[in-house]
Every structure is written in structure tokens, then in C-alpha cells.
Symmetry: C2
Subunit: 195 residues, 2 copies
DNA sequence: TTTGTGAATATTCAATAAAATATTCATTAT
DNA sequence: ATAATGAATATTTTATTGAATATTCACAAA
């Protein structure tokens, strides 16, 4: 029986609820344990440290963004070009949503990603994959004519950095960012399209 | 006589030397004043606060990056496409250079830009101008065929964010960033070029 | 064995006071 | 007047230490 994984998931869920409301520093291992009717010591059979629980929460949150972006790329009725735009606009939407509604979680992510870069890099890779899928679709439909799909996907993904990172939010309004994203995608599409 | 401006410049220069070596928090107004053979109180005739001196230093530093980038765009023997690549590679070079050799100044900039966003926005605007100049050149030489130059410049500049911000440095090697920059510029140029 | 705990220890946090420093101001010098 | 200062005040760091919390561990229950 793999009860262990179930327990781990429960711990992550419980901890995340606390982190969301009180932040990382103000939630204690004892509280998390209490919520699950166990002792604090017992948490350590499932996670090496509190930081590790936070890292798991962080990974789950980043995964959530990935799912939102994935949902966009799975829409049937959009051309590849439209999907690319939808992708970046969804990225912006999610960035703002998180910043406004879950500021504590954002802090958590910022802090965790300092130590655990592997998590970020892995999630970035997944996003590149999604963009690569969009490009593939464009190639198949004849919309695009891209030779090295992954290379293009990485390049495009790197160009979206501004729209993913909350530190830039104070510099621009959401409308400004959306405008910049539209203009950028328009330009990128000119380079991708078959000619 | 505009002795005042001269004095302000001296103060900025002196303060920057201290900030570079000891960081913002570990340099005192008294030390800066001593270096200039004046009293700390007298500094306040030239700057409203220590933060304001820091802001002025910050502005100078950001201006320095602008000058480096400007120098690239002024090179005579490069096509517009080559200049765009040179621009972003210079941006990366400067980012790494600063991070390695002047970490304290980087902290200063990060801290100042939290309060004084106007400074950052103004400098970002100047960089857009430089990119616009490159596009103009491309249009004139027949290399490009861009209708709305500033719109394209802003879009391109936003796509360079990853290469300008030191927080991403731990995630990638310089070689990786340079590779991404090359691929991105290649893609952008496909969109810009006359067809 | 596996699952779990309470108690011991190590680490971090928070409150306070002391010291250092930023800022203001009344006064002097030029 | 303008330029400048030393001393007074306000604010920010630093050091300290007691309390809170994370982590470990020896042992117990299943």
C-alpha cells in the first residue's frame, strides 16, 4: 500500500492552506500536525524539513499555472497564432490573479525558488514544451514553417519573462502588459509564419 | 555660478565609491562628508536625504548601462540585424559584469528601484529609444520594413527582460543566456525583415 | 517490522535597550 | 544674504536574551 504518498499529499494540502492564510513564517509545524491529528515529530517521517513542505507546496502551485497554460493550448478552435497570444495573456492573467489574491503564496514561491532552483527550471521546461506544442500545430496546419521547434520554443519562452514575474507588476498596469504582449506576439508571428 | 551642481556631482561620486565598497547601509553620512571635508549637516543643503543620494547614484549607474548600449548602436560597420544582436549581447555582458564585480551596487539599485520606480521607467524608455534607432536604420537601409517603429521597439525591448535582470542569473550560465539571446534575435529578425 | 509519540536539543523569532546614525535646527562665519 | 557647523533630536541598527519553534531521538504502540 502506498499510504505514504497519500499522507504526503494531505500534508501538502493542509500546509498550503495555512501558508496561504498566514504565510510561511507564521505557520508552525505543530499547527500543521494538529490539523492532521498527528504529532509534529511525525511530520518528519514524510518530509525532511519545513522547507521541504514549502518546496512541495511551491511545486504544486507552479504546476497549477502549468495546468492553466496547458488548458489554453488544448483549446480546439484556435489557430496556432491565436493560441500563442492566448498563452501569454493567460500567463499575465495568472500572474495578476496570484499577486492580488494569494500574496502570501507568492512570497513563499519567491523564497523557495532561491534555494530550490531545480523546481523552477523544471517548470520552465514544461512551459517550453507547451509552446513547442503550439508551434508543432502551426507547422502541421501549414500556418508556420519552423525548422527547429524546440529552439524557437525556448526563444519565445525567454521573451515572455516580463509577463511571468511578479516583481515587474508595480512598473506596469495590466493593460500595459497586455498591450506589450499583443505587440510582441504579433512580431514573433511574423517571424514564424510560412512565407 | 552653478557651483551647486558641481558639489552635487562630487557628493554622488564620493558616495558611490563608498556604496560600492561597503554597501548602502554600512556607509554613513559622516563618512561621505569627511571624504569631502565638510560636515554631515552640510550634505543636506545638496540632498534631501541619504536615500536621495542613493537614488542619484542609481541613476548614474543605470545611465552607464545606457551609454554602453548606446555605444553599440553607434557602431558604423554593423547592419541593423547585427546591431540588435550586439545590443542584447552587450546587455548580457553588462549584467554579468555588474553582478560579478559590483554586487553591492546591484543591491543598491534593487533597493532604490523599489521606492523610485520613475527612475527605472525612464531608463527603460531610453533603451526603447535605442532599439527604435536600430529599427530606423534597418528601415532606411531597406533591411527592415517596419511600419510602427516605436511599437516594435517596445515589443522587442520587453522580450529582452530576461537578459537585463540579475535575479535570473543563478538560473542560467552566461553561455546559456547568450544562446537564448541569439535564437531570440534570429526569430525577431525574421519578423522584422522585408519580404 | 511500521507508525507514532513526548521529551530533549538546536535554531530561530521577538522584544527590549543601548549604541550608532540620519536628520533638523539654532547659531556662527563669510 | 549664503555657506557651513556643532549640538539636539529622531530614527535605525545592533546586541542581548527569553520565548517560540524546528528538529532529533529514544522509546512505545500497533
Amino acid at each position: 500500500m502506498k499510504k505514504t504518498e497519500t499522507k504526503r499529499a494531505e500534508i501538502i494540502e493542509t500546509a498550503e492552506r495555512r501558508f496561504r492564510e498566514a504565510g510561511y513564517n507564521k505557520t508552525t509545524m505543530a499547527e500543521i500536525a494538529d490539523d492532521l491529528n498527528m504529532s509534529a515529530a511525525n511530520l518528519y517521517r514524510f518530509f525532511k524539513s519545513k522547507q521541504d513542505i514549502a518546496a512541495a507546496c511551491c511545486e504544486r502551485c507552479l504546476g497549477e499555472r502549468g495546468e492553466c497554460l496547458s488548458a489554453v493550448t488544448k483549446q480546439q478552435d484556435l489557430s496556432a497564432g491565436e493560441k500563442l497570444l492566448a498563452f501569454v495573456l493567460e500567463d499575465i492573467r495568472y500572474t495578476f490573479e496570484r499577486a492580488e489574491n494569494e500574496p502570501k503564496i507568492n512570497e513563499l514561491i519567491a523564497s523557495v525558488t532561491h534555494n530550490r532552483q531545480d523546481i523552477v527550471i523544471s517548470k520552465l521546461g514544461e512551459q517550453c514544451e507547451l509552446i513547442a506544442e503550439i508551434i508543432e500545430q502551426g507547422n502541421l496546419s501549414g500556418e508556420f514553417n519552423v525548422v527547429d521547434v524546440m529552439k524557437a520554443a525556448r526563444a519565445i519562452h525567454s521573451s515572455f519573462t516580463l509577463f511571468e514575474v511578479p516583481i515587474f507588476l508595480p512598473l506596469f498596469t495590466r493593460e500595459q502588459l497586455e498591450m506589450m504582449a499583443r505587440d510582441l506576439v504579433e512580431l514573433l508571428l511574423m517571424g514564424l509564419r510560412k512565407r
